[in-house]
Symmetry: C2
Subunit: 374 residues, 2 copies
DNA sequence: CGCAAAAATGTAAACGTTTACACGAATCGC
DNA sequence: GCGATTCGTGTAAACGTTTACATTTTTGCG
């Protein structure tokens, strides 16, 4: 595409077309190599020369052509983020975390969201390769995870919130968080605790369920089943589950919803059913979404520092990018924090002296663990 | 950087390094030009040759180097999105809208968020230029807007939710939406309507205030001032405003909060103050954030189709990118939709026959306008 | 069959960087 | 003062595409 044919020798400029490194070199009376060195802070170049170059660059409002640079150094200083069709808060918070960390290191982020099926995701990964130095894939859906693992090789990849798998990954400490929630409820004297589960194909939902079951392990299967209610991480489903719980015969005294949205839904259901929270029902959620503190009563929940998740994920990805060889797969987990508000009627008056009928999962030694703060 | 020195002639591959167009050409027994033509669907190339090329490319798992391509065609097929430090839902929804539209056109999006001051934003714009074919800048803050306008020339730019200004821009129909809200309240018989305002440096907040004032224009200034409460778009500020409204002496019968978050906060304040909504107080918000329907009572609000905002913005930007010359600045506005829920006690029994004392802003002819549906 | 026009393909010059290597000019030790 | 370093800079070859232009092959037609 030989349009301005003598670009490297002529000054041009003036009419249009951004200044190139050659223009700067010409104006500063040095070679392009020197300009490049000055602008990249590489090697030793005389202070005076450096000043001239910088002045010329400034005068010409020179900004390096990234494509050319990428081509030459074979890196794009960009990472890709592939997200499923995930909602609001979470989505943006994780991007914010990554963005902050990335910008600090001079990286840009290329995002592609709203992918619900593996095929589409793979396609996106394909179009991103070559354009990015590394990839961050969020695959909370268990059906997506394995596929991503296989593919995308020869490009650094970090998985976010993925189910199991082998590669590098950052996840939320769902299991630990769920156990901490349960411990809190136990400490409050609850034993008949219902659980509103998230969609089972979602890895986070599964882990939270596992935490719940772990805490309820004393119970016989049938009894446990009666306490578990299926939800879908939405307010609607939480509302529906709340209605069923309200109608359950030996009515549970507490509900642990696998996320805040469902907890909020359940709260609404209890309100319409005339069940008073926290007096006759305690409710705990998970995530600590912003409105959690504004529902009535304010929701006790497990806070997840999503931005931190993004930050950590970027750090991990960067370490792989920088030295792909000397890297062994790492799976990190970000801790969660219990935030006690009004929805579970905090320090209940009648504690352990009561002989509780279904007292399950008790007597474990209370090892403090991460994700348990307050 | 001459490492694999004979790349263009040798087959190489096998050990590492992605295949180049030369590798494909060699394997298919054609020239690189032909490969390029086939892969870009350009010009006429014999069906048979085409098949061979495609096969070779597939075999070598060839994927074009974008940097090289960008360098050659002088376009990156990428647009940049610069966002302020904006919260959750909105942030992600707008990205989703843009992403969807962009992907359909084969564009990628480079995002950079969380910029609170103009300087930082400008810096980001600077690092993005050359990397993107166009820019989308969201600047709801009036202090940011003008600065962005001036700069960033010689690169297609579309402003999102910006205050006034001259360039291309897409905004929400805040004024129209606010008026529609007020009309709804009037139709319900309210005249003593309080307004919880957003931060005044925010363009959206200002426009909504303008809509409110327009509807209340019959009122004398002092009376109006007594009905306006300052907020900051947060739940906290909404709560605080709610408390003040609850204590106001001729207590308003309705509250229009400039966004849902504040409406939710106000709702909480009324609940604690023992004021029943909608019986003794109607509340309307703006935005229709997801929890709006799950608070008690469900919030009547003005829905903003944020994804649509993103979509439209992309369409506009693309049109500028494609033909920068034949383009005259356009300012578009996306409509809003009234969503009636429980918080304003819908069709009140006592309508117009009552002689209302402060009946302001009445008797306008009801021109149906966009943003008024239901 | 021969020749012109059309169709298909190849050649090589851009695109704007980075950087290995070469080269001249200071600087140093003696 | 003179070779050996060191320092500062320049030259030019990559990086992997696209595409104007040249060249070859095919086709059409008398």
């Amino acid at each position: 595409m030989p349009i301005p044919r003598d670009a490297r020798t002529t000054r041009r400029r003036s009419n249009a077309a951004a200044a190139t490194i050659h223009d700067v070199a010409a104006r500063a009376g040095v070679s392009v190599a020197t300009v490049s060195r000055v602008l990249n802070g590489i090697a030793v170049v005389r202070e005076e020369t450096s000043r001239d170059v910088r002045a010329a660059a400034k005068f010409l409002r020179y900004v390096p052509n990234v494509a050319a640079r990428s081509l030459s150094i074979r890196r794009s200083q960009t990472i890709g983020i592939v997200l499923p069709d995930v909602h609001g808060e979470f989505f943006s918070e994780v991007i914010r975390g990554i963005d902050l960390a990335a910008r600090r290191e001079g990286y840009h982020i290329l995002v592609s969201g709203s992918h619900s099926d593996p095929g589409e995701m793979l396609e996106v990964v394909e179009t991103m390769r070559g354009r990015v130095d590394g990839l961050m894939i969020m695959a909370p859906d268990v059906t997506l995870a394995p596929i991503e693992e296989l593919r995308a090789r020869e490009l650094p990849v970090v998985l976010l919130n993925a189910a199991a798998g082998t590669g590098d990954a950052i996840t939320i400490d769902n299991f630990g968080g769920a156990r901490a929630v349960m411990r809190h409820l136990h400490d409050l004297g609850h034993t008949h605790i219902a659980f509103v589960c998230g969609p089972l194909h979602n890895a986070d939902a599964r882990e939270r369920l596992r935490g719940y079951r772990h805490a309820m392990r004393g119970l016989e299967p049938a009894a446990l089943r009666a306490l578990e209610f299926q939800g879908a991480f939405t307010e609607e489903s939480g509302f529906a589950a709340g209605e069923r719980i309200a109608a359950a015969l030996p009515r549970p005294t507490a509900v642990f919803a696998a996320n805040d949205s469902m907890a909020v839904g359940a709260l609404a259901a209890f309100a319409t059913a005339g069940i008073r929270v926290p007096d006759s029902m305690s409710v705990v959620g998970f995530d600590d979404i912003p409105i959690a503190r504004y529902v009535a009563p304010p929701l006790t929940t497990m806070r997840v520092d999503i931005a931190e998740l993004g930050r950590r994920a970027f750090a991990l990805l960067l370490s792989i990018i920088i030295n792909p060889a000397a890297h062994t797969a790492r799976r990190e987990r970000v801790a969660t924090t219990l935030v006690v508000r009004g929805s579970c009627g905090a320090p209940k008056p009648q504690p352990k002296q009561y002989a509780q009928p279904h007292r399950a999962a008790r007597g474990r030694k209370r090892v403090p663990e991460k994700g348990e703060v307050s």
